[in-house]
Amino acid sequence: MTQEERRTEQRHAGSAGDGAAGAHPAIEVRTEFQHARHSGTNEKVFELQDISVFYDGVAAVRDITMDVHRHEVTALIGPSGCGKSTLIRCLNRMNDLIPTATVEGRLLYHGEDLYGPKVDPIQVRKLIGMVFQKPNPFPKSIHDNVAFGPRVLGMKGDMDEIVERALRGAALWDEVKDRLDSNAYSMSGGQQQRLCIARCIAVQPDVILMDEPCSALDPISTGKIEDLMAELKQQYSIVIVTHNMQQAARVSDRTAFLMVELDADEKHRWGRIVEYDETEKIFTNPSDSRTEDYVTGKVG
């Protein structure tokens, strides 16, 4: 599918009822996004306004308000159970797959309500890709893993070229170019995860969400993926969940620190944002003492 067609389809599928504004904001972004190669624009990809997520009516995260900026790596850190994964899964509507999950509040994507009545979650996921905690390559060849996304999306062009570009983008090409036909499960864990990243960028998304992408990997593979993130943010906006504070400090431009909150009788617990700021500030001069305790290792 060419850029033109994608744009048309996007307009068709997702103009969530703002006839006056005309063009879909996401579309404008896509046309100019090749030019903006510097890091840290002030443009916002996501605006979360009082987002709360409930499972079966029980809150998992509450009142999350934060902005995610373009061409930045935004990290979500915090202890287990604070709802980091729940939160990141709202951003590409993966939570829709859990029938009992409900999302409250407003979530704007380039100014457009992501949960608007006319928005199709499938279109959302085409633009907002995701890399998961455990590498989950498909039980197919390396080539077919990368080609799967472009194929189901009906992207036009030379498939070998698309695959090569994606694998190069994920810094995997040199390692696998001679065995594109072998099964993806023959690769090491770190290669599998980079394959998942290649698979994700093959469909040319706008945002990449990463849910603890290195938690199952060894330090060397982790280092490769962290280097990769620094490169990828030139082209994409990245949101990463990590339980590894050093990783957040190394790779991210902004960091949100979430914490578990208990209600009065300690029966229910949910995550809430404690502090969200530039990463440097969070790690060197946090304004909240709880953030300081966590990033210095006193708690958590």
């Binding site: 590409n92 993966m94 797959l97 029938p99 499938i122 279109q123 996921r125 085409k126 633009l127 890709g129 995701m130 998961f132 455990k134 989950n136 390559p137 498909f138 039980p139 197919k140 799967f148 996304g149 189901v152 999306l153 499960y185 998942c196 698979r199 994700c200 469909v203």
Partner: protein
């Protein structure tokens, strides 16, 4: 020459003693444990021996009885009232016709049901649970009941197909559907949710995910289930008898003719008074068993060859 050092000598003696004690302790297994272990292992061996002995006895007896008729004539000659000329040719063709239609109906219905229950059905809803319970119950219904059902609803009105191969195929399909549904569900469930998530996260639709990820990954399990179901259907006699399976057919059957099948003909031969027919029946049984062993082995090979470890 090393100098004699009493300290070293004492240490060596002490160590030798300690080693002896250690060896003693390690080798001293309580007698009761040994006996218990032996008894339990023998009981388990007995269980498997009984199961295997039954099979060996069956095959052995039939080999002895039927060996003289186990030749090409058995599959190239039509049935006949003269035992010397009788063979299974038209029964085999009847069975092949029946199985062809069974596969045609069994695979889409069985796999479709499994996909619906696993991917679309809400596991908590009452209707899904009711369907599941009924499928499990159907797997335990005696096959003669299916024969009567086929007689009442398929051979006669409302379907009114008559006593033909299609009737037999429909009935046998109903009979083995639960096997295929249960096996397919297992295979579909074995595909980890992370694969579905990975596909959906790329913007694939639910159907694209099922069609291009879940189904290909579960095909080995589904195929195994289908083969096992068919090998069960091949051996079924009871449901075919109420459907008017002709025990004595001398022509070559087609989809809309009177029909017969291998187990029905063998059943008929056993009933005959001439000893030559008993020999024929034994040879027929051997052929049927060989067919089943081949099919089941193929199913096992298929499962081992293509099984995906996640």
């Amino acid at each position: 020459m090393a100098e004699y050092d009493p300290q070293t000598a004492r240490a060596q003696v002490a160590m030798a003693g300690a080693r002896g004690v250690t060896a003693e302790v390690l080798s001293n297994q309580p007698r009761k444990d040994v006996i218990r272990n032996t008894i339990f292992a023998s009981l388990l061996f007995l269980a498997i021996a009984i199961a295997l002995a039954g099979l060996c006895l069956l095959i052995g007896k039939n080999l002895v009885d039927g060996w003289s008729r186990l030749n090409l004539d058995l599959i190239t000659q039509n049935n006949s009232s003269i035992p010397e000329n009788a063979g299974l040719r038209n029964a085999i063709i009847g069975t092949l016709w029946i199985m062809a239609f069974v596969i045609l109906m069994l695979v889409p219905i069985g796999v479709g049901t499994a996909i619906f229950l696993e991917e679309y059905g809400n596991r908590k809803s009452r209707i899904t649970r009711l369907i599941e319970l009924n499928i499990q119950n159907l797997a335990g219904v005696p096959s003669i009941i299916y024969g009567l059902l086929g007689l009442a609803f398929i051979a006669r009105s409302p379907l009114n197909l008559g006593y033909v191969i299609l009737t037999a195929s429909l009935t046998l399909t109903l009979l083995v559907l639960p096997v295929v549904i249960l096996a397919s569900r297992e295979a579909i469930r074995a595909v980890p949710p992370s694969i579905r998530e990975g596909s959906l996260a790329l913007g694939a639709t639910k159907w694209q995910t099922i069609r291009r990820q879940v189904l290909p990954a579960s095909i080995p399990g589904i195929a195994t289930g289908v083969i096992l179901a068919i090998s069960r259907a091949i051996g079924e006699t009871a449901p075919l008898i109420p459907l008017g399976a002709a025990t004595f057919v001398t022509f070559t059957p087609g989809p809309t003719t009177d029909f017969t099948a291998m187990p029905v003909v063998i059943f008929n031969w056993v009933k005959q008074s001439q000893p030559e027919f008993q020999t024929l029946a034994a040879a027929g049984v051997l052929l049927l068993i060989a067919l089943l062993i081949v099919m089941n082995s193929f199913a096992i090979w298929l499962r081992n060859r293509y099984e995906q470890t996640w």
